[in-house]
Amino acid sequence: MATVYVNDKAVDIGDERLNCIQAAERAGVTIPHYCWHAALSVVASCRMCLVEVGERKVDEKGQVAIAMQPKVVPGCQTPVKDGMVIRTADAKAKDAQERTLESILLNHPLDCPVCDKAGECLLQDFSFQFGKAESRMVDEKNTPPNKPDLGPNVGLFTDRCIMCSRCVRFTREVSGTAELHVVNRGSHSEIDVFEGHPLANKLATNVVDLCPVGALSSKDFLYSQRVWNLKTVNSVCSGCSTGCSILVDSNKDIVYRLRPRFNPRAQGHFMCDEGRLGYHHVNDSARLGQYLVRGEQGTKAVEWAQAAGLCREKLAAEASKDPGRVWFVFSPSMTVEEAWLLANFAQKLSPFVKLVMGPVGVVGEDDTYPKDRKGRPAQPVKFTIRAEKAANLRGVRGILNHFQKDRATYQQFLAAAKSGQVDACLIAAGQSPQVYKPSVEEGDALSAVRFVAVQQLFSSPLTDRAHLVIPASAFSEIEGTLVNHAGLAQATKAACAPSRGLRTDGQFFLELLERKGLVHAANLRKEIAKAVPAFKPLEVGDLGEYGVFCEKLKEQS
């Protein structure tokens, strides 16, 4: 049991190995820092975290004596121990912070108006909190040329760089690809890549998040929005079964960027570029925007409630004839709540209707990082991009297992449809085109089915065959639970509203069930936890920032 005194406030840090910055954070005190990052090695190069440290001693008589060290020390490099005293706001430390900031700002161009980082820039924040407003610099600033093509997704505004070297350490330690390095010396230092080796690894854009200033910028987000206009919600990446915790930044129902959100239970600090850039389909104007009914007279658009009513009636009619010939195809990307509602609807029609897990996209093999210098995976693994491109395979499987243990596969469903054994089917909640694209054969297989309802994001061979086309919701529009490869159930929240006239998938299923109200994920979670034992941990309703583990779901097949 160790106690640290931060600005005279005692903090119990247990037996953890912390540095001054972390210990101070426990006490609610911010020590400004640029180069230090929890996921990277310590270099103590920025000197921003200079603090006074000392030791508190109690002699036999109970007399307390504090011995401070004569010089300020970098907080990131100084581990704390029992009885340590940290002072961050005294004259010495403040003076050090001010001087450090002044020297950091010597060559900084102060082009905040045109900088995309403005608003979430640590240099701005710390200058405001810890800096002094004036600079004594009279000489001309260094303005090295920008390097807009550091990599396919990243550009560098060289003059804004404060040489914290976070990005360099990231490519060396986390991605292992080591593209970035520091060239030149002293105040002429610059970040650069070698000729012919651009910053092109699959985790490259993380350096933009790591960069405490606006030097490294995402080309995707460049100049598209000012960050203070963005609305940020917690979400989960639906790119693969890693289920990275993310932040969705949107403005006026348009998603502008995704950022990783720290989650020690899921992926850690980072996310891959594939997931980060995998939101563009959300804003695509080609997305299905109407509920379409295709009959003999042609195609016509209907209201959402009409569409739900039609879907309900048709499926019920077919189920009353022969429930064994009515199939429901579940997408491995839909949320647990949506799967639960749809499965409930299927059960309401008849317990003998067939539930099927939809196609699961698998691309290559799991890609782990860091790599060694020959590009082979190295240990210890710090980040994994999974081959299984399904955000919620385990969650949907858990729901389906609850209702039907003995299920056909998607291939068997297609074969049955082809051979005329399917009267009606509902293919639910399409997946994003990066994850899975239906083939023409799949569409053709449905030609013999009397009633086909297809819920998709984009028109596809499936929707071409559908009698009822239901526009699906993108990941940014839904609220619910996604279960990743390790059985970690995380909550995702809606960042934007569906387009005008449309309803979210969950709302559509509620209408199918003729249940009143709106989709409220927390309540549905409680309902599911009560009904399905495998989802017991969801009974808390609010899953918190990091999510909860459903161990049983991990083992199911």
Binding site: P113, V114, N146, W228
Partner: protein, 203 residues
């Protein structure tokens, strides 16, 4: 909420009324006399000196240079739009009437410029927050006050229109007062200094 302290409150005593004044009608009559005096004065022309009216379309007012009328987008000495698309104006705007789309600039000496810059002049409340927010003195409110249009679309001022307001006001010599003169480098030079040279004498 605590009561205000007595010594901090200024108590105003109502004026004492005499008997005649309290009888109300004499004061009404004297008031009527004043009213009548002004009316007769105006009608007969003896009170013309009191008249403070300008016959507007014929007599046009000369407004002070700090008047907040229609916006203009300033040009830099090379005639390009000064704006750097920082969104400060649209952020400061309480009416949310400024819409900017930023893009990498086509010029080597700048990184960002507004691809489109639209002000909804109907939505604008002419508070002048945008010109105060602007870090490069690119947006200003001019003394043009009689803004009319036949449609809403016409009142959506785009970049070209706003720049043309600049050209018009520079040509007319009615440059607005700089909001923050000095210490801003090139940006704070009088508008159009590089273009006309003479207009700076106005402000």
């Amino acid at each position: 909420m605590s009561q205000a302290k007595p010594q901090k409150v200024k108590w105003v005593k109502p004026p004492k009324l005499g008997l005649l004044e309290q009888m109300y009608f004499p004061t009404v009559i004297s008031g009527m006399a004043t009213t009548l005096k002004h009316m007769v004065g105006t009608l007969t022309g003896t009170g013309d000196k009191n008249i403070q009216v300008q016959s507007y379309p014929e007599e046009r007012p000369t407004l002070p240079p700090h008047y907040r009328g229609v916006h203009r987008l300033n040009r830099d000495p090379e005639g390009r739009v000064k704006c750097v698309a920082c969104y400060m104006c649209s952020t400061a705007c309480p009416a949310h009437c400024i819409d900017i789309v930023a893009a990498p600039s086509p010029w080597p000496d700048r990184e960002k410029y507004p691809e489109t810059f639209v002000i909804d002049e109907l939505r604008c409340i002419y508070c002048g927050m945008c010109e105060q927010a602007c870090p490069v003195d690119a947006i200003e409110l001019t003394t043009i006050f009689d803004l009319t249009g036949m449609s809403r679309e016409e009142m959506m001022f785009d970049k070209e229109k706003l720049l043309s307001v600049f050209d018009k006001t520079v040509a007319a010599g009615t440059d607005p007062v700089r909001t923050q003169p000095g210490r801003l480098g090139v940006a704070s030079l009088p508008a159009g200094a590089g273009l006309t040279g003479s207009s700076s004498a106005q402000s």
